[in-house]
């Protein structure tokens, strides 16, 4: 397998413009002769499906949700970045590009990131035109705030519901296309296999979650916009249904999986309160703009927070990173929290959190302003914990939040399988080893609106006049049979343990050994335990009910099965990346101050894994990364 990133030549600032001119076009009259399948209707998929529909292609869109409006993108709170420089505080496309490459700890492709920064500007224009009610100033112009890891105000937001408003914008635009008949929507249909014929993507096999029926769909090209795999850890901030199945099934059909070990741990989540917990709730990073993070200096501290005098508090972020303080990037802030909690200075009943304190901000700005800024987040926190952040500091702790890794894609967002594309969180492209806050929405929308609809024509144009592979082709038939057998298989095992109980146990292994801090021993331990647990899963799984009607236990079984295989390559990737970078922290590789220590000589590359049929023995390929515009430097936020 060779990894050709197809990066256009020319100076960084002209690559994208040149590419768009050089690419092959499909003339408007011919577009209706092409069928395109888009799996996933979150920001990345929804924007792509709507735009391709507007351009005149026949689009079939699939989601396992009951409506496109439910995609996990809806949960994004904080905001979306764009190099608009409306605040005139020195932002620019180049600075956003620079910040993102640096923030990603020099493990992202420069060309992709620059394109992302260029398109960021048009996203805000497009979404505003769609009617997204971004926050505004009294003058009527758009408001911005600064967000984790940035020293300029470039983050656009809609209260604490930015993702919701963006997704609704996309959903409305997609709905218009559905109404016009340009996009055919398939809700509650889960992709269970990708079909490849003669080395190119021919279509997909989906399972109807209401009837259990398995059907095939073919097209000239297939786009996967199926989101991230944080739920491999069981507990994460992701929605309950987020899973890796689509990406993993593609991987098994030949799509390389890149940097699976790059997982982002978000610093500000509500600490776990007990082991029945089903998911963790994120408290938007924007809270760090006004909240101060601290823990008691004394591990045996028993006083309630407001009674602890300044002298006995350790504002550890402000202490360790004076220039960024509480706004230090996520990986840094998260690890710092782990350090103090491991020292026994954690707070809360389980001593598993640190304080995020608004007392100063309330004193400085008044409760009104704080309510205006974070009201709904404070309510959410109080609903869950029964404590009011207006009087009591919040308790927070890091949690798995986002996965930078994903399907390997070239500059055109095409995977190693021709005709199979990946956009949004499902691909690996733009965030390197660590994603900056408010950049995922930006990437999902850039991919879906402005990148994929441009690059896909380059692949489609030469196929003018060809028909998609008919769905009665043996490959489709075989895939359907395999899928049916897979799900019947889960029902047939008749063991004693529910899918959830396995998922929970897998998640614990991953969190302990492949979480915020990784060691050789730990990862090897995980690599021994996971296959064993997977074997037990195959022997002792119990799925009640039938496959002929809605069966959420059965759905879960299929997803957990794929997580087991993914988990192994995550650990392998973490084990073989003998350095610390961004979200990947290997205890063996840290400076004396405990900062991540990169090894650019040996690891300035993308690791892309090839499926071999044996989940414990995939092949590791590498794509070297060149840094011509941002100079490799130790990432310091001191």
């Amino acid at each position: 397998m060779e990894l050709n990133s197809k990066i256009p030549d020319g100076p960084i600032a002209e690559k994208w413009t040149n590419y768009q001119f050089d690419r092959k076009l499909v003339n408007p009259a011919n577009r209706r002769k092409y069928d395109i399948i888009v799996v996933g209707t979150g920001l990345a998929g929804g924007a792509a499906a709507a735009t391709l529909g507007e351009q005149g292609y026949n689009v079939k869109a699939f989601t396992f949700h009951d409506s496109p409006r439910r995609a996990h993108s809806i949960a994004a709170q904080g905001g979306i970045n764009a190099a608009k420089n409306y605040k005139g505080d020195g932002d620019s496309v180049h600075r956003l590009f620079y910040d993102t490459v640096k923030g990603g700890d020099f493990r992202a492709r420069e060309a992709n990131v620059h394109r992302l920064a260029e398109e960021s500007v048009r996203i805000i224009d497009q979404m505003t035109a769609q009617g997204v009610p971004f926050a505004r100033e009294y003058g009527g112009l758009l408001d911005n705030r600064s967000f984790g890891g940035a020293q300029v105000s470039r983050t656009f937001y809609a209260r604490g519901q930015t993702g919701q408003q963006l997704l609704l914008g996309v959903y409305q635009q997609l709905s218009r296309q559905v109404g016009l008949g340009n996009v055919e929507m398939h809700n509650r249909s889960e992709l269970v296999d990708v079909v490849v014929v003669d080395g190119t993507a021919a279509g997909i096999v989906v399972r109807d979650l209401l009837t259990g029926q398995v059907t095939s769909h073919s097209a000239h090209a297939v786009v996967l916009a199926t989101g991230g795999y944080s739920n491999a850890f069981f507990l994460s901030t992701n929605a309950m249904a987020c899973n890796v199945t689509a990406a993993w099934r593609a991987h098994r059909k030949g799509a390389a999986f890149a940097n699976p070990c790059y997982t982002q741990i978000h610093p500000t989540c509500i600490p776990q309160s007990d082991d029945f917990q089903s998911k963790l709730t994120l408290m938007s990073e924007s809270l760090r703009n006004d909240g101060r993070i601290w823990c008691p200096k004394d591990p045996d501290e028993t006083r309630s927070p407001e009674l602890i005098p300044e002298a006995d508090r350790d504002y550890y972020l402000e202490r360790r990173y004076p220039s960024f303080g509480n706004l230090a990037p996520r990986d840094i802030a998260s690890r710092a929290a782990k350090v103090v909690v491991d020292e026994g200075k954690g707070v809360g009943p389980l001593k598993n959190g640190v304080y995020l304190d608004f007392a100063d901000a309330i004193a400085r700005l008044g409760e009104g302003t704080i309510r205006e800024r974070y009201g709904n987040l404070f309510e959410m926190y109080e609903r869950i914990t029964d404590e009011s952040p207006y009087v009591m500091p919040m308790r927070i702790y890091p949690a798995v939040h986002y996965t930078m890794g994903g399907l390997w894609v070239d500059y055109e967002l095409m995977t190693t399988v021709p005709g199979l594309y990946a956009t949004g969180e499902a691909n690996f492209s733009d965030h390197g080893a660590n994603r900056l806050g408010a950049s995922a929405l930006m990437q999902g929308l850039a991919d879906g609106y402005f990148v994929l609809p441009n690059t896909i024509s380059n692949y489609l144009a030469p196929q003018l006049g060809t028909q998609p592979v008919p769905t009665d082709h043996p490959e489709f038939r075989a895939a359907e049979v395999a899928a049916k057998e897979r799900f019947d298989g889960y029902l047939a095992i008749g063991g004693t343990r529910s899918p959830d109980s396995f998922h929970q146990e897998l998640g614990k292994i991953m969190w302990d050994y492949c979480g915020m801090e990784r060691t050789k021993e730990g990862l090897e331990k995980a690599l021994a335990e996971i296959p064993a647990l997977h074997a037990e899963f195959r022997k002792d799984l119990r799925v009640t009910g039938s496959g002929e009607s809605t069966n959420q236990t059965l759905e879960k079984a299929g997803r957990v099965d794929d997580f087991f295989e993914l988990a192994q390559v995550m650990c392998l990737d973490a084990l073989t990346r003998e350095e610390s970078c961004g979200g990947h922290f290997r205890a063996e590789h840290q400076t004396d101050e405990g900062e991540a220590e990169r090894d650019d000589d040996h690891f300035a590359h993308v690791a892309a894994w090839e499926w071999t049929g044996d989940p414990s023995a995939p092949i590791r390929h590498t794509e070297p990364l060149e840094f011509e515009n941002v100079h490799l430097a130790v990432r310091s936020y001191k």
Binding site: A47, T51, E54, H65, D66, S67, P68, R69, R70, H72, I74, A75, R122, I124, D125, Q126, T128, A129, Q130, G131, P133, A135, R136, G139, G140, L141, L142, Q161, Q164, Q165, Q172, Q173, S175, R176, V178, G179, M185, N187, L210, M240, S273, D274, F276, Q277, S278, L282, M380, R383, I384, D386, F450, T496, S498, S501, R542, G545, S549, T550, N551, T553
Partner: protein, 256 residues
């Protein structure tokens, strides 16, 4: 943390056309820190361990934002806590020994899929009929070209906060979808960008709404059930625009 011993009366229905009935399931030893759905997870885990089929219910984000969760809890959509979706309802709101009745949302336009899961795609039909601003990808002008007074943007945001959960329909004695539709209409009709299609939008969306749902007689129950506390003021706004549309849209026709 306290332990609750509860009795659940849960609606079980094998499929859309199957007859349904209440199933009484004891739920002892429930930790009151749990969310309502975590309580159901525990119940389901126990059912599976007993070889029984788990209760089917819709949910996803569990943060009160995706609108997937539903449930009629003791006769109230999303349960007793005001402005709270089922997934954010916590067991500390219930008392030890309590019997809790859980039923699916009921409306002809929301057919039961299985157990507590219903099909709310009628909402998608309403949006498809006009719940958008026509602005195809690429043609947008600079976002700051059209200033929007903060109060207007805020009002639009208040309406746009709707999560499409359908509790308004479930709670409405008439099964009317006026609060949902009004929220969608008002969000776009308040914004300058939404003016071009303002009256065609409201007419199309209201007419589609009436193909599926009941008609509002201003009970105000929807507003009480809405997890986002969307105000029925938006229903009045929608009605006003709808009345106007009957004249304005005709005028438009005469222009073409």
């Amino acid at each position: 943390m306290n332990e609750l011993n509860l009795t659940l009366k849960i609606w079980r229905q094998a499929g859309p056309d199957a007859p349904g009935s209440f199933d009484t399931i004891p739920a002892p030893g429930i930790n009151d820190e749990m969310s309502f759905l975590e309580m159901l997870d525990v119940v389901n885990e126990r059912l599976v361990n007993d070889g029984k089929e788990a209760v089917v219910f819709d949910h996803d984000c569990r943060e009160g934002i995706c609108g997937t969760c539903s449930l009629m809890i003791d006769g109230q959509a999303h349960g007793p806590q005001k402005g709270t979706a089922t997934c954010q309802l916590h067991m500390r709101k219930f008392a030890d020994g309590q019997e809790i009745t859980i039923e699916p949302f009921r409306a002809t336009a929301f057919p039961v899929v299985k157990d507590l899961m219903v099909d709310r795609s009628a909402f998608d039909r309403i949006v498809e009929s006009g719940g958008y601003i026509t602005a195809e990808t690429g043609g947008a002008s600079d976002a700051n070209l059209t200033p929007i007074p903060k109060p207007v943007a805020d009002a639009a945001m208040d309406a746009a906060a709707c999560i499409g959960c359908g509790a308004c329909v479930a709670a409405c004695p008439n099964s009317a979808a006026n609060l949902f539709t009004a929220a969608k209409v008002s969000h776009l009709n308040l914004l300058p960008q939404g003016q071009a299609e303002r009256f065609s939008r409201v007419e199309a969306m209201v007419d589609t709404m009436e193909d599926f749902f009941g008609s509002c007689t201003n009970h105000g129950e929807c507003q009480e059930a809405c997890p986002k506390e969307i105000s029925i003021d938006f229903i009045a706004m929608m009605n006003k625009d709808y009345l106007k549309s009957k004249f304005k849209n005709r005028k438009m026709l005469s222009r073409s």
